[in-house]
């Protein structure tokens, strides 16, 4: 792989950029692989990357029904934070956040990680106490956060309205090293690095069945024929239930649509991410200048990648109240993604009842920020059968009643 750099660009500029090579190959599938990942989204590609990088397993195929990065990886509001309450969540999200810090260099692909800070607004006394609890938990978890005063909030976000008549801002949970990254670039950067390690990223190929022998996986049926493997990672947000059904087990998951929108681009006016959970909205400004806005999920099962307007309305109403200046901005585009919601709204990274089949799903509304940590832990789970990062996220927790409930402190949004 030829490295990307300013010098490479200068070299190519002289020949009209005719010399750039493919970022990733487009190979024919082999007969079998040491491991197969179904789903070339961020989580799947990151899993493959760390299988190779941390465990030397490079005879790997990543099979994708559509195009790599075409699911929720490219459909989210790009927020990265790790100020979670429960230990298990804080561990995997903080691992991810740390890996984001060096991802551009590690992958030689600029994913534009921008640690501009994340504020979660406290707008009721209950929320104040919840975030103070999170700050205390984070202090022990090695996650740097602090609970800040309304005045500090205003200093960091001058466009905010602290004195909304309904929900005044009473403070905020501030994670200075949270931020955003360029979502597509994360998938592309991992894909390029995986391809460089000799892994096969097989796009436009649908898995149609999981073949088992004696309760163990031996391969997958695909639209391009059978491909053998003894280790199968299912990482297909939004369609996990469909794949689990093929493998012969059921998941505590429902798929719903989550919506987001952007405004037209404007010059920089907000240099951090603000989340307002009481009123259901969050907002940041992209490098292009668009205000990127996320809201709530529909409550009904939905596979259409579009949602109802009233959710958008609720979110925008809340944000106009929180940031009055956006009233005269215009909505440019709205879209939806299909998210897997589990029984406790926390993800599943787990072995399954089928030997050799592993599942990584249920990230709900919070998957993007976890990508590298999820890949790191899931690769370890697939390679070794155990990872401290994923240990608490097993499927067995639902039977045991051992939940990882983040709604405890932070309301709904991720």
């Amino acid at each position: 792989m030829r490295r990307y750099s300013a010098f490479a660009i200068a070299r190519e500029a002289a020949r009209y950029h005719q010399g750039w090579e493919r970022a990733w190959a487009s190979p024919e599938p082999k007969k079998s692989y040491d491991a197969i990942i179904v789903g070339a989204g961020g989580h799947g590609l990151a899993t493959a990357f760390y299988l190779g990088k941390n465990f030397g397993i490079t005879n790997v195929a990543v099979i994708e029904k559509g195009w790599l990065g075409g699911g929720n990886t490219g459909r989210n509001t790009t927020i990265i934070r790790s100020n979670y309450l429960q230990d298990a969540s804080a561990a995997i999200y903080e691992k991810a956040r740390g890996l984001y810090e060096t991802m551009s260099q590690d992958l030689n692909y600029n994913v534009m990680f921008s640690p501009r800070g994340v504020i979660m607004l406290a707008q009721t006394h209950h929320e104040v106490r919840g975030y103070q609890r999170t700050a205390h938990a984070n202090a022990l978890q090695g996650v740097k956060t602090e609970f800040i005063s309304p005045q500090r909030v205003k200093e960091i976000v001058p466009i905010i309205n602290l004195d909304g008549p309904r929900y005044p801002v009473l403070g905020g949970l501030w994670q200075a090293r949270g931020g955003t990254a360029r979502h597509d670039a994360v998938a592309w950067g991992y894909a390029r690095a995986c391809s460089d390690m000799g892994m096969d990223i097989i796009q436009k190929t649908e898995v149609t069945g999981v073949r088992k022998e004696n309760g163990a996986v031996v391969g997958v049926e695909t639209s391009r024929g059978f491909i053998g493997t003894k280790k199968l990672g299912i990482v297909v947000a939004g369609h996990s239930g469909v794949l689990a059904d093929m493998a012969g087990f059921r998941l505590p998951i429902e798929s719903v649509a989550l919506q987001a929108l952007v405004s037209e681009p404007i010059k920089p006016c907000m240099d951090c991410v603000v989340m307002a959970n009481t009123v259901h909205g969050y907002m940041s400004q992209s490098d292009k200048g668009e205000m990127v806005i996320g809201g709530g999920a529909d409550g009904y099962n939905n596979y259409t990648q579009r949602g109802s307007f009233h959710h958008i309305e609720e979110t925008v109403r809340a944000l106009v109240e929180t940031f009055p200046m956006i009233s005269r901005l215009k909505q440019l585009r709205q879209w939806g993604g299909i998210v897997d919601m589990t029984g406790d709204r926390s993800p599943i990274l787990s072995k399954t009842p089928v030997e050799g089949v592993f599942i990584n799903c249920g990230w709900g509304t919070g998957g993007f920020k976890a990508i590298p940590g999820s890949g790191w832990g899931f690769a370890e789970l697939m390679a070794r059968g155990y990872s401290p990062l994923t240990a608490e996220f097993g499927l067995n927790r639902f039977k045991e009643g051992r939940f990882i409930d983040e709604s405890v402190a932070a309301g709904v949004a991720h």
Partner: protein
């Protein structure tokens, strides 16, 4: 230079001058002008700068698809960035400024010149700016962010108002061109409720500009008659300046009406968002002209041929004295003829096609216009304005055959139907190879709740470009829709004159064999600076899916959302991949069609009416007293009542002590109150609560715990048995709706044969807690027909009777540990009763107390609070509430869940009291630290604080918390963390700090 023609302009009123400013310069236009036409009339062809390279940009279109001429308009609290000059109607006093440049539009230091932009191809930022690591955030990103963005951010709170409007119609017709008008005439005649909307201020679309004759009369006349007919129909509504922005599931349509943008002096809301439920939708949204990809096609002065025609015909504006027309289809000849007719020079029509024999071409030739076939533009000359073009053979690589001096170029690459609304909700497209465009696939229309199609395309939006055919298409669409609605309709459309046209030939790049150097100068997306070379680079690097290409190059992601660039980009990608255009596919069309204001989306809901506020009958009293209020659900409750000079903390302490020492009054009206009634009420209550409720005697109260089916504690409260069949359930404040819904869920969906009825009566009663040693004296002073003595009405009893003339229900329950009467009165009497209590209680210093005093007093007593001691992960067994869990009952909601291994795990943290060793207050949310770290390197914990206060009664810090093996560790001192890394030592104690034997409440 562009200028105003001495005559013509069907939309302007030359007798009505309009003064406006552009970048501070005072200019004049006419009523009926758009900002774009007025600027052109004043010779202002440079209107903005592009996003990435800050290249000079002029207006390229005349309508909603405009990507370049974006302005900041207005001032202060009425400033709005990114307004398209082409859709901004001119008014007196309009103030516009151009965007995205520094220091000025004419001289922009951010401009990347021709030699430098080679270094900034598609996706260059993914390949660089990586070292040193902090440089992205601190150096590169700020530069990128400041050079990106378009308009300035508004600073102030919006001074305008917005509103929502609801409509229910049988047929929604989008687009007021001739197809839409004809569809409305046909649909209106059936008696169906019809709503016809048009995004501009004018009806008729392109037909009047193109000189169409309908039924032998000028299009304008037919349009006027059609509108008159429609306005005469009671079942038809028509709205101009109203853009249908999105079609949503099951026939939901949003439309965006701009009420005062064109006339800011008018009263009323600025925008109105129509929320429409339509049984059927007809999209007669027309078509958009495509640019052609030739070198230098972004230089100001290069415009769409249709836009040039619009400026001449509609606004009497010349784009320049000499305009070269370049095309691959006959429509652009209309532009040449219009220019010629206005007395302007058309040095040549450059047509990529080898032979052209249509009526329009013949007319052009007859007018003496030079028609060059098989020819393309090799390059456009000029920097901030077009100065000329060089020509070449379309089939070749671009060897210049001729140079022509000109001031404008009118280009046409054919027309693309506006399929956005068709596609928003799942309608699929088909590739029309003949017209080189995607158009709606009639067999795969969007479907509604009944599985049947509910969107029908008509006219140019359906790929029907001729006038006569468009009229017929409009009528046929209306007939089809009427039939779907079960109405009878007859198709009838007027005739129209359409010239014979030579078919279009797809031209995606000009000349066909242009090399890399030329491709780097062919713009696809003008605003985002995406060129043919960028799309080809994306394909070369493996970004082969149309979504990859779009995201890698930012093609179609500008504020026009690819209205001009998408098809050309797709074709370029297909060619780079050696694939067919339909195989490459399109990106997804998402609402809104054109951007709509956030203000309109939010509607009326802002400020005080942001969200409905629930008020207790005593709410006004609290406000009169200057109470500090806190949101509790949708209620506001007094947190405390600070007196002059008091801090909140001082007020809370005063309220606690006054209550404990004499008499406190609490507005407890927010407490949830639900009646559960029926022969099976007792059985139902036993399932709802963990303890036995069916054995409760009428006249008595019992505290109970309610769990969800997952075992977690959900709500708690006191239940009073009114009679054999009737229970009154008290829930937490804000918990009533949820609890009532929970009851109904189980009654309707699981135990539907049980005879139980529930009613939420929370707002029917005001409730006051009369608390403190003097509570009984106060009630007796007011006069009562009840015996309120401890013997007659003991703790956990209730009675009904009169107090001070008020009808009351009195509950002997206490959340403070003091002698306490919770008294319910009809809501209408709440304020009067509250006032009477205060008046009569003055002699005992009756003190209103708020939620914080309530919380402190309950914590002093070790009573749990839902939301503090519970957080959705806590079960009653964690809280030492085993006594409230029936061992006898076979079942209750949550019982099975509580048998799971993690729920019965002896290492679950359990509730204890905590006292700091030094008397300080443990911070809220603190965790009890344990030694060592876990497998992920996180500090181990052994408990956490759930409530923590300074107790004014005891004069020290008290807390409740969940601690590992806590109840077995009484007296042990453990450490609680602070965020600064230090810890606070605290002793594990009994959680009942105050009056552990309950002597005070039992008097």
């Amino acid at each position: 230079m562009s200028t105003r023609l001495s005559s013509g302009g069907r939309l302007i009123d030359r007798s009505a001058a309009r003064d406006f400013t552009f970048n501070g310069k005072r200019l004049t236009g006419y009523a009926g002008d758009t900002l774009a036409s007025a600027l052109l009339a004043n010779g202002q062809t440079l209107m903005g700068r592009s996003f990435k390279y800050h290249r000079p940009r002029g207006v390229v279109a005349s309508g909603a698809e405009e990507p370049n001429a974006l302005m900041g308009i207005g001032k202060g609290s009425r400033f709005e960035p990114n307004q398209r000059a082409t859709t901004t109607e001119l008014f007196d006093g309009l103030e516009a400024e151009s965007q995205n440049h520094w220091p000025s539009l004419e001289f922009d230091v951010g401009a990347v010149n021709n030699s430098l932009y080679k270094f900034f191809p598609a996706g260059f930022y993914y390949k660089t700016f990586m070292f040193p690591r902090p440089a992205w955030k601190h150096l590169f990103e700020p530069i990128v962010r400041h050079s990106a963005g378009l308009g300035k951010a508004p600073k102030d709170r919006d001074a305008d108002r917005y509103e929502h409007f609801y409509a229910f119609v049988d047929v929604m017709i989008v687009g007021g061109g001739i197809a839409g008008l004809q569809a409305a005439l046909t649909a209106g005649a059936t008696g169906a409720r019809v709503l016809l909307v048009e995004q501009t201020a004018h009806w008729g679309g392109r037909a009047p500009v193109d000189g169409v004759e309908i039924d032998g009369q000028p299009a304008d006349q037919w349009i006027k008659n059609a509108l008159q007919t429609l306005e005469g129909m009671d079942n038809v509504r028509v709205r101009s300046r109203t853009m249908a922005s999105g079609v949503y599931d099951h026939g939901y349509v949003l439309a965006y009406e701009r009420l005062t943008d064109h006339a800011p002096e008018m009263d009323g809301p600025r925008h109105r968002l129509w929320r429409i439920r339509a049984k059927q939708v007809i999209t007669a949204t027309g078509a958009l002209e495509r640019p052609l990809s030739f070198a230098g096609n972004d230089i100001p002065g290069v415009m769409l041929a249709s836009a040039v025609r619009d400026y001449v015909v509609n606004w009497g504006v010349s784009p320049g004295d000499r305009t070269v027309v370049v095309t691959n289809n006959d429509d652009a000849y209309r532009t040449a003829l219009a220019l010629h007719g206005a007395g302007l020079a058309v040095p040549a029509i450059v047509d990529a096609r080898a032979t052209v024999t249509g009526d329009l071409a013949e007319a052009a030739r007859a007018a003496g216009i030079r028609v060059l076939t098989g020819t393309g533009i090799a390059s456009v000359k000029g920097k901030k304005a077009v100065t000329g073009v060089t020509l070449c053979a379309q089939a070749g690589e671009g060897a210049v055959t001729e140079e022509i001096a000109c001031e404008a170029v009118a280009m046409s690459g054919g027309w693309s139907p506006v399929v956005h609304l068709w596609s928003h909700c799942g309608g699929k497209l088909t590739w029309d190879a003949e017209q080189a465009c995607f158009r709606p696939d009639h067999d795969r229309a969007p479907t509604s709740h009944d599985g049947k199609p509910f969107v029908t395309a008509a006219g140019a939006a359906d790929g029907v470009l001729g006038s006569a055919d468009a009229l017929a298409s409009g009528s046929n669409a209306a007939v089809a829709v009427a039939q779907a609605l079960g109405l009878s309709a007859t198709a009838s459309a007027p005739s129209a004159n359409d010239p014979h046209e030579t078919p279009l030939e797809p031209v995606w790049i000009m000349p066909q064999g242009a090399g890399p150097a030329k491709r780097m100068k062919m713009w696809l997306d003008y605003q985002n600076d995406v060129k043919v070379s960028d799309v080809r680079l994306a394909a070369q690097e493996g970004y082969e899916s149309v979504e990859h290409t779009k995201r890698y190059t930012t093609l179609g992601m500008a504020t026009d959302q690819g209205k001009l660039s998408n098809i050309n980009g797709l074709a370029t990608l297909a060619s780079a991949l050696n694939d067919e255009i339909p195989n490459v596919g399109t990106t997804t069309f998402r609402p809104p069609y054109t951007p709509i204001s956030m203000g309109a989306i939010a509607g009326e809901a802002r400020g005080d009416v942001f969200q409905p506020l629930r008020r207790t009958p005593m709410h006004a009293w609290h406000e009169e007293q200057g109470a500090y209020m806190e949101p509790v659900g949708h209620w506001r409750r007094p947190y405390c009542y600070p007196k002059a000079g008091e801090t909140h903390e001082q007020a809370v302490h005063r309220e606690v002590l006054a209550t404990r020492n004499s008499l406190g009054l609490l507005d407890a009206s927010t407490l949830g109150k639900i009646i559960v009634k029926g022969p099976d009420a007792g059985r139902f209550m036993d399932m709802l609560y963990t303890n036995m409720m069916s054995t409760l005697k009428p006249g008595k109260c019992r505290y109970g715990l309610m769990c969800n089916e997952n075992g977690f504690l959900m709500d708690d409260g006191v239940v009073a048995r009114i009679d054999e069949d009737t229970f009154l359930v008290h829930t937490t404040s804000g918990g009533a709706e949820h609890t009532h819904a929970h009851m109904e869920d189980w009654l309707q969906c699981e135990w539907w044969d049980w005879k139980v009825h529930t009613v939420n009566v929370t707002e029917q009663y005001a409730q006051v807690a009369v608390v403190g040693p003097n509570a009984r004296k106060l009630l007796e002073k007011l006069g009562t027909d009840m015996d309120l003595s401890a013997e007659a009405l003991p703790f956990m009893g209730w009675a009904e009777g009169k107090i001070g003339g008020f009808n009351t229900r009195v509950f002997r329950i206490s959340f403070s540990g003091e002698l306490s009467f919770e008294i319910a009165v009809p809501a209408s009497q709440g304020r009067a009763f509250w006032d009477a209590l205060h008046a009569a209680g003055a002699e005992w210093n009756a003190t209103a107390y708020g939620t914080e005093a309530l919380h402190i007093m309950r914590a002093e007593k070790g009573f749990i609070m839902i939301g503090d001691e519970t957080d959705g992960t806590v079960i009653p067994q964690d809280l030492g509430l085993g006594w409230a869990i029936s061992k006898k009952k076979e079942d209750y909601l949550g019982k099975r869940a509580q048998e799971r291994s993690h729920m019965t795990d002896p290492t679950r943290w359990k509730l204890v009291g905590l006292e700091t060793v030094d008397g300080s207050v443990i911070p809220d949310g603190s965790y009890a630290v344990a030694s060592g770290t876990n497998a992920n390197g996180q500090g181990n914990t052994q408990g956490r604080i759930t409530s923590t206060y300074h107790s004014p009664t005891l004069g020290k810090g008290i807390a409740m918390g969940l601690v590992l093996n806590g109840p077995d560790r009484m007296g042990e001192v453990i450490e609680f963390n602070k965020v600064d890394g230090t810890t606070v030592p605290a002793k594990i104690v009994n959680p009942v700090f105050y009056d552990p034997d309950g002597e005070k409440q039992n008097v």
